[in-house]
């Protein structure tokens, strides 16, 4: 489980995270929802210790994030971090050098699933295919937790569907996933938990099936209530 407890963060005088608390279970998909600029990416960076926090605590399976944690948790940012002149298979080699948890069989499997050519240069890929390679690099690590920043934004519907399909497969099963999105409709049926954010704060955290069961409401219904209140 990833526990985010009372996290506060300021950029200069601007408070970007305001007493944020939520949890993300292993084996579940937790979705951080909110419009651009509410702090979704900042939280992910904070979990990954890529940015310092002013107060609060972040735990993974009860322990603080250290250097060792990065074999257990990975972050897939919304843009690819590999050098553009690299070929896909060169990016694989880079990942294999960098991470003990790199799983080459899984990378191969995903390459076929996404129908990508390993000899293609990253710079020459379409936006959709770049997003797929980016995703592939993260998914091919044998980690317990995956953080994905806006995996669906700015790509075509078929690529989106293909990426969504990954979420229903063994590639994700058993792992804990946190994804951010400002567009929930594509993935309403895929997620276990929603965390609604606005202006650096968590407004509501709920299990989506429970809300459907007990209140007869969709995620979007709850969002309307929360954001228009």
């Amino acid at each position: 489980m990833i526990e985010v407890k009372n996290v506060n963060k300021k950029y200069g005088r601007k408070q970007v995270l305001k007493d944020i608390s939520f949890t993300a279970e292993k084996g579940e998909i937790t979705c951080l929802i909110g419009i651009n600029g509410v702090g979704k990416t900042t939280i992910m960076k904070a979990i990954m210790a890529l940015t310092p926090i002013n107060s609060g605590e972040i735990l993974m399976d009860g322990e603080k994030i250290t250097k060792k944690s990065f074999e257990k948790i990975t972050f897939i940012p919304d843009t690819i971090t590999m050098l553009p002149q690299m070929k896909i298979n060169e990016a694989f080699a880079f990942m294999a050098d960098f991470y003990k948890s790199w799983n080459p069989q899984r990378a191969e499997e995903l390459l076929q699933f996404f129908k990508l050519d390993p000899n293609e240069r990253i710079a020459n890929l379409s936006k959709g295919n770049t997003a797929k390679v980016n995703m592939l690099l993260g998914l091919s690590l044998d980690v317990d937790y995956l953080l994905m920043d806006e995996p669906f934004s700015g790509i075509d519907i078929f690529s989106r569907e293909q990426i969504a399909e990954v979420f229903t497969s063994h590639l994700i099963e058993e792992r804990g996933v946190i994804i951010t999105t400002h567009e929930i409709s594509d993935i309403e049926h895929l997620i276990d938990k929603a965390v609604l954010m606005d202006d650096g704060a968590v407004l509501r955290e709920f299990s989506v099936e429970e809300v459907r069961e007990n209140e007869g409401k969709s995620v979007v219904d709850v969002m309307r209530e929360v954001y228009r209140a």
Binding site: G27, E28, I29, A164, E165, F167, T168, S169, H170, I172, E173, E188, H189, L190, I191, D192, E209, R212, E213, G216, K217, S218, V219, V220, D221
Partner: protein, 129 residues
């Protein structure tokens, strides 16, 4: 196999309903093997936890059974299977009656129309075969 899920009913409930419809249609025979939880999640594009929940619920309702590590199968209990069909028919009829009621039409007129429409549609279905 795809389902058009609505967003307001629990997904697991919709999955169970889908399976019941398949049973009622005779798509599944008593005792027939059904897809694994993982296969179903993948086919229907849903969360594996949701598929798991649906299977658990169906097991409790006696619709399916799982022996040890074997794949899950449709129940062989004819009474349960008959019930499924009846339940779905009654549900559909109730829904129909509900919408008729609000326009206040005599039953005879409606039944006549239902029969006519139904015959026409099954006629079309025959022709297209």
């Amino acid at each position: 196999m795809t389902i058009n899920f609505n967003n307001r009913d629990p997904v697991y409930v919709q999955v169970i309903r889908h399976l019941k419809e398949q049973i009622a249609k005779g798509f599944y025979e008593p005792g027939q093997e059904i897809p694994s939880r993982r296969e179903l999640a993948n086919q229907l594009k849903i969360n594996p936890n949701t598929a798991q929940r649906a299977y658990k619920e169906m097991e409790e309702q006696g619709l399916i059974f799982t022996e040890g590590n074997m794949p899950s199968c449709i129940t062989k209990d004819e009474a349960v299977l008959k019930n499924v069909r009846e339940e779905l028919i009654i549900e559909a009829v109730d829904l129909f009656l509900g919408s008729i009621k609000s326009i206040d039409v005599p039953l005879a007129e409606v039944l006549e129309l239902v029969k006519k429409k139904h015959d026409a549609e099954s006629g079309e279905a025959e022709e297209s075969k």
